[in-house]
């Protein structure tokens, strides 16, 4: 097993082990860089999404330890881990406008409204959201929805950002643009990011660290 370590690896995962009736995720130890973008890269069925869901806390993983600074995030329920997540299916709230989706995240993170407004303006500029902020999320195109999902994930200043195949539903041209915008936002906000992907182009464009996974194990 080979792990690529960052210069100051402050996020340490231990005992990321879960049996799924025929498939097992088995990562006894993993140091995830607390800066830049770490890509978890592997083919379909390698366990990337399972790892993603286990780390976020959507599925139980008894014995998991995940130290981040002084905190063991594994002991906290998902809302208290203060993670930003962009799901593969984006999961915007279709009955809310794009702006409402983003501000919802700010509200639940108890960001003061003037601060939320300021962040909103910045993100709208960074991700070019201004033209469709008032449109219902259910009516956005794939690329627009993806940018809104990212804005929603970062407005609360999460301690870690998870991106689960964020560009898979976009065409080639849009992907190039999207990667650029995502990179820009991550770098500006300096949020450590775990990028789940099987696309080599994503690695080239975004990742500072690459971790390969196959059969539920890091290779």
């Amino acid at each position: 097993m080979v792990c690529l370590r960052g210069p100051r690896a402050m996020s340490h995962v231990r005992n990321l082990i879960r049996d799924y009736d025929g498939f097992k995720v088995e990562i006894p130890s993993w140091e995830i860089s607390d800066t830049g973008v770490t890509a978890l890269w592997g083919p379909s069925g390698s366990g990337k999404t399972s790892v993603f869901r286990l780390l976020i806390g959507l599925e139980p993983c008894p014995g998991l330890e995940w130290t981040f600074g002084k905190d063991d995030l594994a002991k906290l329920p998902a809302p208290e881990r203060r993670l930003g997540v962009v799901f593969q299916s984006l999961e915007l709230f279709p009955h809310m406008t794009a702006e409402e989706n983003i501000l919802f995240a700010a509200k639940v993170r108890e960001v003061p409204s003037d601060e939320a407004g300021r962040r909103m303006t910045e993100l709208a500029a960074d991700l070019r959201l201004t033209d469709f902020l008032q449109r219902k999320a259910g009516l956005l195109s794939g690329g627009e929805a993806q940018r809104v999902a990212l804005a929603r994930a970062v407005i609360g200043r999460p301690r870690f950002l998870f991106l689960d195949e964020p560009f898979s539903s976009l065409d080639a041209e849009l992907r190039v643009e999207a990667r650029g915008l995502v990179k820009q936002v991550i770098e500006r906000l300096k949020i450590p990011t775990l990028l789940i992907t099987h696309d080599q182009e994503d690695l080239r464009a975004l990742a500072q660290h690459v971790v390969k996974i196959r059969g539920g194990r890091l290779v």
Partner: protein, 488 residues
């Protein structure tokens, strides 16, 4: 050319079957329309108060069912393991599946040893809530899983509290579905008969009871049919206004424990405990009794009746599947509720033919007409609706409708169709309302129970609940077992 002819023939058959199905379902009304020569519209002052009481009862029952169902849903979500979830589903559905007679006897067994049973509107509402809140809990689970599953996870990881999730995400998104769910429960409570008849005391808690009394006391079929038709039209209109069916197919399950409230876990079991506990409390009394002669005949009669009703439902569901998708048919089936047992049962008597065999067939048909629309709406519609895209693909490839039915629809919808047929068999075996009207000398277990109750033999009647429950469950098991055979 022959391909075109055969497609036209299929189109003709499908259209004919749709019409035939709709006509069969409304046939009790049509039969009475032909039979009754003089019609008198019941005076407004006679039926309007009934509508208000019925509406009030149904409104309170359904609102409370929705509220307690929501609490049970929250409790059920805190059970995480797959087997625990399956157990929750069975336990939650048990009161709804149980024939009303069991439910009533269980309730009486809890209260009567210690206090007077509070008959009246409140008792009817309580029984309806007991019966329906589990159903609401499961419907909410299906809705949340299928429509909100991903959003729930997103909201949770963003840090939303349960309150924020329910008020900002779930409620605005699901309100139309919740309205349809409310309408479904409202229809059940509005048209309920056995529970308000037995527990309502001096209050006519539903129009159905009033319809029965109009027939019994006055023999005024014209009034009764008009009231029943008005009721059906009213509910159909509501259903057309809220056409979205509320019961999504069983979705890919993902655990949503963050929605669950662990303190409400045990609430999931409460209705089933009341039901089963009441029955167990009444058992010692029953053991003083003995099984009356004729039980074996009654068991065979109930088995034959339940099985036939289940089989006829199966045929009806297959016909519906073949004739679907069709918006008009779906809207009709999702909105129409059959007229009361008395109106349907006596309408069958007016059909030509008599004798033991014909009476049996009429009885089976009557029971099917009563429960088919409800079971279609509750279980089968979602199964068929979920296959629309596949049907479209198959048709685009050139498949005939019969091929679509047997190769695409049936293999995937068979479990739900057979489960619904099994439920029909369960209810058919436990029916006493229609059987009492149509059966003649076909003595089933429920009839035997009511006859014994009429002859000072209440403990013997209660003892018969055991074979009745076994027969009903056995029939349900037979159909669900058939589902496994078909799925192999």
């Amino acid at each position: 050319m022959s391909g075109t002819r055969s497609l036209n023939t299929e189109a003709y058959w499908r259209a004919s079957l749709r019409v035939l199905l709709a006509l069969l379902l409304v046939s009790p009304f049509l039969i009475w329309l032909i039979y009754i020569s003089e019609w008198e519209f019941p005076p407004v002052k006679e039926w309007l108060p009934l509508v208000f009481v019925s509406g009030e009862q149904a409104l309170v029952s359904s609102l409370l069912s929705l509220f307690f169902g929501w609490l049970m849903f929250l409790g059920a979500e805190s059970w995480i393991e797959r087997r625990q979830k399956q157990m929750c589903e069975v336990v939650l559905l048990l009161p709804n599946l149980t024939p009303p007679l069991f439910l009533i006897l269980s309730l009486l067994a809890w209260v009567t040893p210690w206090a007077a049973f509070p008959y009246g509107l409140n008792a009817v509402i309580f029984a309806h809530v007991l019966m329906n809140s589990g159903l609401v809990a499961i419907a909410l689970d299906r809705l949340v899983q299928s429509k909100l599953g991903g959003m729930t996870e997103a909201a949770w990881t963003l840090g939303a509290s349960r309150y924020q999730f329910w008020t900002r995400v779930a409620w605005p998104f699901l309100k139309f579905d919740l309205a349809c769910l409310f309408l479904f429960v409202f229809s059940i409570c509005f048209t309920s008969f056995s529970i308000p008849f037995m527990l309502g005391g001096e209050t006519w808690a539903t129009l159905e009871v009033a319809i029965f009394d109009t027939i019994r006391a006055d023999g005024r079929w014209d009034k009764a049919v008009i009231l029943a038709a008005g009721q059906s039209l009213f509910l159909l209109a509501l259903a057309v206004a809220l056409p979205r069916q509320f019961w999504p197919p069983r979705p890919q399950r993902r655990p949503l424990p963050f929605l669950g409230v662990p303190q409400l876990r045990q609430l999931v079991f409460l209705p089933a405990l009341i039901l089963v506990g009441g029955w167990l409390l009444g058992l010692p009394n029953s053991f003083k009794a003995h099984l009356e002669p004729g039980v074996a005949d009654a068991v065979m009669a109930s088995l034959a009746l339940g099985l036939s009703v289940g089989l006829l439902h199966l045929v009806f569901f297959l016909v519906t599947a073949y004739a679907s998708p069709h918006l008009g048919l779906q809207r009709f089936l999702n909105g129409y509720l059959s007229p009361s047992s008395a109106i349907t049962g006596f309408a069958m008597l007016l059909l030509p033919g008599s004798g033991e065999t014909i009476d049996f067939v009429k009885l089976v048909l009557a029971l099917t007409l009563i429960s088919f629309p409800l079971l279609y709406r509750w279980i089968v519609h979602a199964a068929l609706d979920g296959l629309q895209n596949q049907i479209l693909v198959a048709r685009t490839l050139g498949a005939r409708w019969s091929t679509v039915l047997f190769e695409i629809v049936w293999p995937q919808a068979a479990p739900q169709i057979l489960r619904a047929s099994g439920l029909a068999a369960f209810w058919g075996a436990a029916d006493f309302a229609i059987t009492a009207v149509v059966a003649g000398d076909f003595n089933t277990l429920p009839l035997m129970m009511t006859n014994l109750m009429g002859n000072y033999s209440l403990p013997s009647a209660e003892l018969l609940m055991i074979p009745l429950f076994m027969v009903s469950l056995g029939l349900y098991g037979l159909f669900t077992g058939a589902a496994r055979y078909v799925s192999r």
